[in-house]
């Protein structure tokens, strides 16, 4: 475990984590697992989910802090940030995450080239500092079905939250048209949301009850079984930075039809995806092309994406970030002023308040008083005796 190269202590902060399931959650989870395997120490900090609050350990020794954010009147981010500051500082010191004060970021990671363009434009950060590291998919969980489905009846699967952003309105226009043009096609729609009512109405209006099956909310564990029952995966979202759903579908052996938005054109090679403009006519054309392409597809997901590769590339970014010079607060303040006429001054004010708060907390709860967590290294090899285990644990302290 004494790897060559520096061993980092990483804190992942996110609003979204297990028990929620989604793109961000799975990204953090899988990335953390791979980073742990590479020898780094990873801790995740998120907000408490109902009664799930405090410190939990998940697979692989990943430590998760479920912090109970104190509820604030207007759900403002600013006061919440200040109220949770003591907890954040305590966690940072306990886990020995090396950071002085709330540093502004040196490097950034984006999940697609389009997302990188958007980030550089909106934040004004230099493009050299933005790294493109994509998401990946768990190819062990999303495997294709063992036997190929028969091509007499073509099944199109849609699994997404039925909201405006994910193009549920496009679905309402596309599904009846496709059912009219191709009598052999059947739809399976999984997911729930405010637009579900519109889809039900569409089903009633065009009498498609036997051709469109609505599953409702699909638990994450059953997503694969729904996916492998289809030939084509339809994604109609209006905006996406990356879209992991497409990867999961391709990993299960489906051909994807998607709208050409955001980072979607970069995700899959042309023989696994058919792109369309977010307009009903073009999407119907794309579905037709996909149906014609269906007999000849053969997805090879293992070569395209893997979480280990993502973790290694992320590690390079961390190394680069640690190398760049640590600047003093006073040197950083003028940089904030350039963010905008009003925004720059606001950022400076926030940073100064943060710094003063840090100094106050240093006085009230000194760093020396906070107990640091010892580095426990999980052993993956099978141990011969209890003595070995004790020896390794004492070495780790």
């Amino acid at each position: 475990m004494d790897g060559d190269g520096k061993r980092h202590r990483i804190l992942m902060v996110s609003d979204f984590f297990f028990p929620n399931f989604g793109g961000v959650e799975s990204h953090i989870y899988y990335l953390s697992q791979c980073l742990l395997k590479l020898g780094h120490k990873v801790v995740v900090m998120t907000h408490a989910y109902g009664s799930r609050s405090g410190v939990r350990y998940v697979t692989g020794g990943l430590k998760v802090y479920y912090v109970p954010w104190k509820p604030f009147l207007m759900q403002n981010t600013l006061p919440t940030l200040f109220l949770t500051f003591p907890i954040v500082r305590t966690i940072l010191i306990r886990e020995k995450i090396s950071v002085f004060t709330l540093a502004d970021f040196d490097q950034a990671i984006c999940v697609s080239h389009t997302s990188k363009e958007n980030t550089v434009l909106r934040s004004g950060i230099s493009p050299q500092k933005v790294f493109m590291v994509p998401n990946a998919v768990d190819t062990a969980m999303f495997t294709p079905s063992p036997e190929r489905l028969s091509c007499d009846e073509i099944v199109i699967v849609v699994i997404s939250r039925l909201v405006y952003r994910k193009g549920a309105d496009l679905l309402v226009e596309v599904i009846p048209e496709v059912c009219r043009l191709f009598p052999k096609v059947r739809f399976i729609v999984g997911g729930d949301g405010p637009k579900r009512v519109r889809l039900e109405e569409m089903r009633e209006k065009f009498s498609l009850q036997d051709r469109v099956e609505m599953l409702g909310a699909v638990p994450h564990a059953q997503v694969r079984s729904v996916l492998i029952s289809g030939h084509i995966f339809l994604n109609s979202s209006l905006t996406e930075a990356f879209c992991i759903a497409i990867l999961e579908a391709a990993s299960c052996g489906l051909l994807t039809v998607s709208t050409r938005v955001g980072g979607v054109p970069e995700v899959l090679p042309d023989d696994m995806i058919v792109l369309a403009q977010p307009a009903p006519e073009d999407m119907v054309r794309a579905v037709k092309k996909a149906i014609d392409m269906l007999p000849g597809i053969d997805p090879q997901m293992k070569k395209l994406y893997s979480w280990d590769d993502v973790a290694k590339r992320t590690e390079i970014v961390y190394d680069r970030a640690m190398q760049s010079s640590k600047t003093d607060l006073l040197e950083r303040l003028p940089r904030y002023l350039t963010c905008g006429a009003w925004a720059g001054k606001l950022f400076c004010l926030v940073m100064i308040i943060n710094y003063l708060l840090w100094c106050l907390l240093e006085y009230l709860q000194p760093t020396e008083g906070i107990e640091e967590v010892p580095d426990i290294r999980l052993v993956y090899a099978h141990l011969e005796s209890v003595n070995d285990m004790c020896r390794i644990q004492s070495e780790g302290n």
């Binding site: 493009p127 209006l238 938005v261 390079i316």
Partner: protein, 301 residues
């Protein structure tokens, strides 16, 4: 150095894709020349012409003059300069003028539409006459100052939220979809009229002033829209005539109001268009493939 250059020369072409891991020969933070190639700037910005903006602003000053005329009629009635019979005559003449304008400007003259209007107006007038006693005693226990203050505030709200573009007015007979703010502004003007009318002594006074106010607030936008649609020149002549009449009446009413109205008209017609054109240069819109796609069809619930 040479090996570095040769490494760079024989690396494959960079592709804008996310699959396949890190592209050999390129770092993850490599920025290609095609970076931000698909960005479009100021795609939806309309180039504005000063004269056109000034002509468009005439609608706003015209409506302002109409409201000023209503207010001056109210103040003359409240000080009993105009008596109820004169007011009734004014109402009837306004009604006839409005009707004739409508008939002149809507080219296909349909008897069915005309009769529908006459029927509606008859119901409206009789309803108002029946309800006039209620309005008369509505605010008897409230002091005059509160009434004037409230009426002034409501009129301001009405002016701010009024729909000057006429986009919520569709040709008579079609189904229209009014916006929330135009509803609020209409309600504010009606409540203001009721408040002012309730201060008058006799029932006939109340009925006459209510009829006058409601005629203007409910039907003036429609008439103005029809005139504007019919001929721009007629619209401009009408507006200028209206402004001259209003300013002369205001001059006789109160010097301060006259100066205020004149200043407002100058501000709206001259200063604001110039200001708009000046700051239009700073407009900076960025669009690109990262934006949320817009649906090309309407969502019918």
């Amino acid at each position: 150095m040479n090996s570095e250059r040769s490494r760079i020369k024989c690396r494959p072409k960079w592709r804008k894709v996310a699959y396949g891991g890190r592209q050999p020969g390129y770092d993850d933070n490599y920025t290609d020349e095609s970076f931000l190639e698909e960005m479009v700037m100021n795609a939806n910005v309309v180039k504005r012409d000063l004269l056109k903006v000034m002509i468009d602003s005439v609608s706003i000053s015209q409506y302002l003059c109409i409201v000023a005329l209503v207010v001056s009629t109210w103040s003359y009635t409240l000080s009993l300069v105009i008596d109820d019979v004169t007011l009734l005559k004014l109402d009837i003449s306004l009604l006839l003028v409005g009707f004739s304008m409508l008939l002149v400007t809507t080219c296909p003259f349909s008897l069915k539409l005309f009769s529908k209007y006459v029927l509606n107006i008859t119901f409206f007038i009789s309803g108002l006459y029946v309800l006039a006693p209620i309005y008369q005693t509505l605010t008897r226990s409230i002091s005059s100052d509160s009434i004037w203050a409230l009426a002034a505030c409501l009129l301001l709200v009405h002016l701010f939220l009024h729909d000057y573009s006429g986009s919520t007015i569709k040709p008579p007979g079609t189904h229209n979809n009014p916006k929330l703010t135009s509803n609020i502004s209409l309600n504010a003007s009606i409540v203001a009229s009721v408040l002012v009318a309730s201060r008058l002594p006799s029932r006939l006074h109340v009925f006459a002033i209510m009829l006058f106010s409601l005629q203007i607030f409910l039907f003036a936008p429609l008439i103005v829209f029809c005139i504007k649609k019919y001929s721009l020149r007629l619209h401009l002549i009408f507006s200028f005539a209206l402004m001259v009449i209003t300013l002369s009446i205001m001059y006789q009413l109160h010097r301060m109001f006259f100066i205020l109205l004149l200043a407002l008209i100058v501000f709206i017609s001259i200063v604001c268009p110039y200001w708009l054109i000046r700051i239009q240069e700073y407009k900076f819109e960025i669009n690109g493939p990262w934006d949320e796609a817009k649906l090309c069809f309407d969502i019918t619930e």
